[in-house]
């Protein structure tokens, strides 16, 4: 069982790295890019008792991980996706 946690900056929080990427894309001639927001993808390989639980419980556990460590909810949003 694999879980993917997507972490991104909240709307309204300045994303300097996204801005820099946007700038570089424009430099390459991709003028139709209006804005870039950069985030991160964290893949968790789950095993043992957790992986054997119902999907809702796995999702709840991964959300708990995201809230406690993977995302800083002051500035970031996250979403959880279970794969396989």
């Amino acid at each position: 069982m694999k879980a993917r946690v997507h972490v991104s900056l909240k709307n309204g929080v300045l994303d300097p790295q996204g801005k820099a990427i946007n700038h570089a894309l424009h430099g390459l001639g991709f003028a139709d890019v209006a804005d870039v927001r950069q985030g991160k993808l964290i893949e968790l390989e789950l095993t043992g008792a957790l992986a054997a639980k119902p999907k809702a419980e796995i999702e709840a556990a991964v959300k708990d991980m995201a809230q406690k460590l993977l995302a800083n909810t002051v500035i970031e949003n996250f979403s959880v996706e279970l794969v396989g």
Binding site: V13, L14, P16, Q17, A20, K68, L69, L70, N72, V74, I75
Partner: protein, 231 residues
């Protein structure tokens, strides 16, 4: 005063902090504590979270250090009123641990900034800054990539109304303007207190401005304030 410095894997200013604290404490050095420890000595008056790059700044600056074993104990002591000084990466750790509000993001310029800056002392009603004058400008170094202090507007107003902003980035005359905001921090904030003013977090390095050999002693006032109030 009995101080403890917590060292994490990747801390690099703990020795500078040790020198500054020893200097104001009649030559008595602070106790060293390792991130994997789960206990602090009983009679500690001050806990210091020093600068550096704990856990390589992986995931987010300070995120993993904030969850290390010793931080559970630091949080308990802080709640009980033990003073905490959190500098640079320590400030990031304190925010991630919930000891202070807000978060530190990448500098708006995307540049690593390593130079001296001017700070305006916003309040002297604190055991950390009582030796300064309100509105005084001090010159201390900064060295960070993620010093962009972020907090929602309502919370910033609450900090201001409660006199919890410690330092702001200013010019040499103490004027605070957009042009003196080196990293994009909300309201030019360089340092803040918790609600009880028992925890101070700041991005600049006062410990590196405590010896004339290093270019200035403007940071000494902070350590003298601490030593005077906790001894």
């Amino acid at each position: 005063m009995k101080a403890a410095i917590v060292t994490f894997p990747g801390s690099n200013r703990e020795r500078d902090m040790r020198m500054a604290l020893t200097k104001v404490n009649n030559g008595k050095p602070p106790v060293d504590v390792w991130h994997g420890d789960s206990e602090l000595p009983k009679d500690i008056d001050l806990i210091v979270l020093p600068g550096g790059f704990s856990y390589g700044d992986y995931l987010r600056c300070g995120a993993m250090a904030a969850n290390s074993p010793i931080m559970q104990e630091v949080k308990k002591r802080a709640e009980a009123g033990t003073r905490v000084l959190a500098v640079c990466n320590g400030f990031q750790i304190a925010c991630e641990a919930g000891l202070l509000p807000g978060a530190l993001m990448t500098n708006a310029s995307l540049q690593f900034i390593c130079r001296e800056v001017n700070l305006r002392v916003e309040t002297t009603a604190s055991q950390f800054t009582q030796k300064y004058r309100k509105g005084q400008t001090i010159r201390v170094p900064v060295a960070h990539h993620d010093g962009n202090y972020t907090l929602d507007a309502d919370s910033v107003k609450r900090l201001e109304d409660a006199d919890l902003v410690a330092f702001r980035y200013a010019d040499s005359l103490g004027n605070v303007a957009a042009s003196t905001n080196l990293n994009g921090s909300v309201s030019n904030i360089a340092g803040i207190y918790n609600a009880k003013k028992t925890v101070l977090g700041l991005m600049p390095h006062p410990e590196n401005a405590t010896d004339p050999v290093c270019g200035g002693t403007d940071g000494l006032g902070l350590f003298e304030s601490i030593a005077e109030s906790l001894s």
